[in-house]
Amino acid sequence: MSDLFGTESWWVVIVKAVLIFVVLVVYTLFNIWFERRVVAKMQHRVGPNVHGPFGLLQSLADGVKLALKEDIIPTAADKVVYVLAPIIATIPAFMAWAVIPFGPEVKIPFTDTVTPLQLTDLPVGVIYVLAVTSIGIYGIVLAGWSSGSTYALLGGMRSSAQMISYEIAMGLTFVSVFLYAGSMSTAAIVEAQEGMWFFIPLFPAFVIYVIAMVGETNRAPFDLPEAEGELVGGFHTEYSSLKFALFFLAEYVNMVTVSALATTLFLGGWRAPYPIAFWDGANEGYWPVLWFLGKTLAFIFLFIWLRGTLPRMRYDQFMKFGWKWLIPAALAWTVLVMIVRKVQSDLTLDRQTLLIVAACVAVVLLLVSLIPESKKADEVEDEVEFDAFAGGFPVPPMPGRQTSTDRTDQTETTATSTTSREE
């Protein structure tokens, strides 16, 4: 961890804080436009293209319009909490960025001051992010409760249950990263990925994290808290104007936060991607910011891609998936990593041997999964003659069901019985 943290002059800190804020707000505006354009492309539409070049100013216009709308507080709402909720949701979203490293140490232009491109670093940086985002959940839950509306309440409940459940799986994936990096500080984790980005040795953790981060941000296909078909808009059903805009902002900032965290933990943070990394200057100066934002944008694209292609899950399926698959898988992976680390340090295995072993195991697993399963007994359907009137009322046969030979008799009896009924 850089020695500069904690000793920098106050104006550097303020400049960095303001810059982070500005970057996040602009990034959000960009992301909204980006999402609309990409989804439009996927649906063979054009998307916003009128205001500004490529329609880039559309989200700015929308934002201004949203802020100028009438602010409604429902009669049944708990006023204080109702007003506080969007603020509680938004502030932690920004606070998490205090420990995200954008780049290495750089010299501030026009001065001699050298500073790391990171507001500050904590020895517990990553779990600080986890802690702060868990406060953000309060905003959503309280919004749901204070609105005094059933839809909002249900949405709030769903989101809190969802975020807590997926936070567990998410936190467990961090453990393997900590074990490899030997630190919980974000800067140290990026430093530790100099040789190899962690998503290669820790691929299962990476996959689990990516799934959990979608659940954590309430995005499709896990956007149950605001499932329009069931809950109108979920926790923010009753919100309008600037308060709604704050929720919107918080959601998008959270999306960027988890993407940035994924970049930091698994994709080498601000380090240049492979072909560019051969250029010596790639990891110096302000270039890393570009790589960092680019990697983050790739995750944002993934979010949008998921939204464009996958239907929403049912709530019970979603919970079952989280608790019965994701968390056990994350636990098993954590235990495996611990064993491997122990073996590595005791038997002094090198990385190559491990990778070969891992590859062998993966190949074996793949081959095993290719072995066709033995035919189960459930194909032996009870071949009872189909009787449309078994229940005392005409029922059409199941799709694909051929009532071959006695088909004519069947129709005849059907016809007769129908007529007999009509009489």
């Binding site: 708990d78 909490v81 904590l122 020895p123 517990v124 779990i127 600080y128 986890l130 802690a131 702060v132 868990s134 406060i135 959940i137 309060y138 839950v141 309280l142 749901g144 409760w145 059933t150 309440l153 709030g156 409940m157 809190s160 249950a161 807590i164 936070e167 936190g171 919980m184 078994a390 229940g391 005392g392 009322f393 029922v395």
Partner: protein
């Protein structure tokens, strides 16, 4: 010191609020304020790990579950204030205050000198220091905490998990049962009718109208009906307006006074 004197009043006020707030959710929120302030105090005293854990575990998980329960159960009404044992509250107040004063006096007098050893404990960083203790001196205590956690999990399952003793009916069996029921009792096998839609109301609490103009009772949730928060559709606002416009118009009392069962109504049409 600055952190302490900023946070201490907030914490004390919030703690008082926990006790005095009318709504349970407000109490829970204020408790969260106390917890977060505590976490910041930990951070300011050089315990960043405790800071993060305090927020994740207490604020993020435990308080959230509290809120969850409070919201689900809906403990909004104030509690019953009847004393089952006469004078109990007074006695509790006196004893509690006495105890509080005693503890404050004793501990207050007992605190002497300055605290030492923080630098030593944090010499290699707070996380390292904690790890060194947890994995050596107190490793057994930490391991036996596992017994506690497993007990808690098993206990939660024992007390709350209801095992399915009869196999769940498949969708197919369910539909067969519905049709059977329809054949026998005439109950509509399809979904219940959706509520009516009026611009003035939230639709869920407004009954739909049947073709003859009477409201369908089945279209509103049973819960809302039990709570008595169902709008009467035409009977209410529209009918009133119509009566005001033309007291003699027979359509203004459309549908009669008792709403009919909407579901069975449809089958009688033929």
């Amino acid at each position: 010191m600055v952190t302490f004197w900023t946070l201490a009043p907030i914490m004390v006020l919030a703690a008082l609020g926990v006790v005095l707030a009318r709504k349970a959710v407000h109490s829970a929120l204020l408790l969260a304020v106390v917890m977060i302030s505590l976490a910041i105090t930990y951070a300011s005293q050089g315990a960043p790990f405790l800071f993060a854990v305090q927020i994740i575990v207490y604020t993020g998980a435990i308080m959230m579950l509290f809120l969850f329960v409070l919201m689900l159960v809906g403990v909004d009404a104030s509690d019953s204030l009847v004393e089952t044992i006469k004078g109990q509250r007074m006695m509790a107040l006196v004893v509690g205050l006495t105890f509080g004063v005693l503890v404050v006096l004793v501990v207050g007098q007992g605190v002497v000198g300055v605290s030492v050893g923080l630098g030593e404990a944090n010499a290699n960083g707070n996380v390292y220091g904690l790890a060194a203790l947890m994995f050596t001196k107190y490793v057994l205590a930490i391991e036996f905490t596992a017994a506690l956690l497993i007990t808690a999990a098993v206990g939660a399952m024992v007390l709350a998990h209801r095992e399915r003793l009869v196999p769940r009916r498949s969708q197919r069996e369910e539909s067969a049962r519905r049709l059977q029921e329809y054949a026998e009792t005439g109950r509509h096998p399809g979904p219940l009718p959706t509520p009516g839609v009026y611009a003035r109301h939230n639709a869920v609490d407004t009954p739909a109208l049947l073709p003859d103009g009477s409201p369908s009772e089945l279209s509103v949730s049973r819960v809302l009906r039990a709570r008595g928060s169902v709008r009467e559709g035409f009977e209410g606002d529209v009918g009133q307006t119509l009566r005001q416009l033309d007291p003699d118009d027979p359509t203004s009392t459309i549908g009669g006074s008792t709403p009919r069962r909407g579901g069975s109504g449809r089958t009688e049409e033929s």
